[in-house]
Symmetry: C2
């Protein structure tokens, strides 16, 4: 048990890729919980593409992290000290955005029932990652059995779950990822029907091959040229669930939208951006379905 609180703070706003010196390592005294608060030691930190958005001073879905502040991040931790009768030391909790630091003090946190599953499950499949995949695919994508679903960043935390849920729903599922190893994981481990290595293949041509009936649902994590290839092949009334636009997060110059934007009109498609906090009131639907799928071995 440390007495210092190790932290990574945002020192300056990155330009393009994150570089050494953009973040600064600091140590402050371990915080002390006030009356009604708990002291949580972070055990796991979730590193997500959206972290990069938070570092930029641009209009976004949450305020950006201020320069000088501890970097924001999702964590899972253990209660070390409690001034709140609802918690006791040893409780495993998700404090929400506990940040890139050892310790965080909070008035409340979501308690985790330690079951047979590893704790990291609650940071992934049964956490916000799984919920993002679940609602983004089912609520916005509305996949139908026999339809074709494309998932970009398919080997990623969210994408890999999206594809597995789409398989459960009876769809043809085609992933897009950035290496042959990732593609192998996507097809062999996660059971996608096909996976395209966008660094080696012509994405449009490969999509044509693997989606002979066109594309009904796109779970979009990337944007840029990949989204353009997908939009070229969407079917009438296609749904594009817009979860991320990784391709543009590091951009220094304004990035044009997809050249095939007009196909949203021509194919009467729907594009809907979302983040998982919109679905917090419906988390129980997700927990019910996902727990069953994990127990049945349908989701890895």
């Amino acid at each position: 048990m440390r007495n210092a609180n190790r932290q990574w703070r945002l020192k300056r706003r990155p330009e393009g890729d994150i570089k050494p010196g953009d973040l600064e390592f600091t140590e402050t005294p371990k915080p002390v919980p006030a009356q009604g608060e708990i002291l949580i030691r972070n055990i796991y930190l979730s590193l997500d593409p959206t972290n990069r958005i938070w570092m930029s001073d641009m209009d976004q879905y949450m305020p950006p992290v201020e320069v000088g502040d501890v970097m924001r991040g999702g964590t899972l931790g253990v209660v070390e000290q409690s001034n709140n009768p609802a918690f006791k030391p040893g409780d495993i909790v998700i404090p929400g955005l506990g940040g890139w630091q050892d310790y965080v003090v909070a008035p409340f946190a979501q308690k985790i029932d330690k079951g047979p599953l590893p704790l990291t499950t609650y940071m992934s499949v049964l956490g916000m990652t799984g919920a993002t995949a679940y609602f983004g695919l089912l609520d916005i994508g509305m996949p139908k059995a026999g339809g074709t679903v494309v998932v970009s960043a398919a080997a990623g935390a969210v994408g890999s779950i999206v594809g597995q849920i789409a398989k459960i729903k009876g769809c043809r599922v085609v992933g897009i990822a950035g290496s042959d190893d990732k593609c192998k994981l996507v097809t062999k481990e996660y059971g996608f029907d096909a996976c395209i290595n966008y660094k080696r293949e012509n994405v449009l041509e490969s999509l044509k091959k693997h989606c002979p009936k066109g594309i009904d649902v796109d779970f979009e994590n990337v944007g840029g040229e990949i989204l353009d290839a997908i939009l070229t092949l969407i079917n009438l009334n296609a749904r594009i669930s817009l979860c991320g636009l990784i391709a543009s997060y590091n951009a220094k110059e304004p990035v044009p939208g997809p050249y095939m934007f007009r196909n949203i009109l021509m194919k009467r498609a729907t594009v809907k951006g979302f983040i998982i906090i919109d679905y917090l009131p419906r988390m129980s639907e997700f927990i019910t379905d996902m727990s069953a799928w994990v127990a049945q071995g349908k989701i890895k």
Copy 2:
């Protein structure tokens, strides 16, 4: 009554703006209706932005007009000869897409009850134009009283009706049009709260001024830089009803999508393309509401 059928045919696919020689004037014999068919003389022809799309050999919501064929277009006409007991000479009908010609033969057409309203009403407010405005705004845009609605091509056939419906629904309505005269029409005649002349004003700055609470609904007819300015100012959960992308119809090179595409994600907005044929099963809702609004003088 003529014996020849004057026609405009597509002679070659236009590049950029339509130029003399892209269409060819021809005369053929007046067609003869077969058993069960009616001969319609077109009285009115609707010239719509979408005509330009039909001239191009690109992936679109209907097959393009073939080179050599009579140009496609919406018409209203009068029955001159009938071999169908449901119709008699003198009936006023909408044959759907009667084309750029004097005469068309069809097995069926939508009959119009000649009331006190001018016939052109059935080509505009109470026709497909009005229905496009009605469903595009209400079904996709879902305007709420007190919200802000922006309409591009606001002086146009569809846009002018969209704004008037949005006013009926209690919204702040800001139009965008291409001249001071059009803007005057939009505010004085159609009752929009404000109108921006995009040829003279900085659209983004003017939108900021006229939409102090941001933009909740965009009825989009134009695309391009205008859509970019709108996307910059959309509120959380904004709805973009994508009816047209006039700005790109004449483009010879691929046109980039909006630079602010990422705001669809950041603001968790919805973009939905549509055409009115998707709503044909629900036309009675439209006819009921719109007839009442026209009778009450609420829609001009």
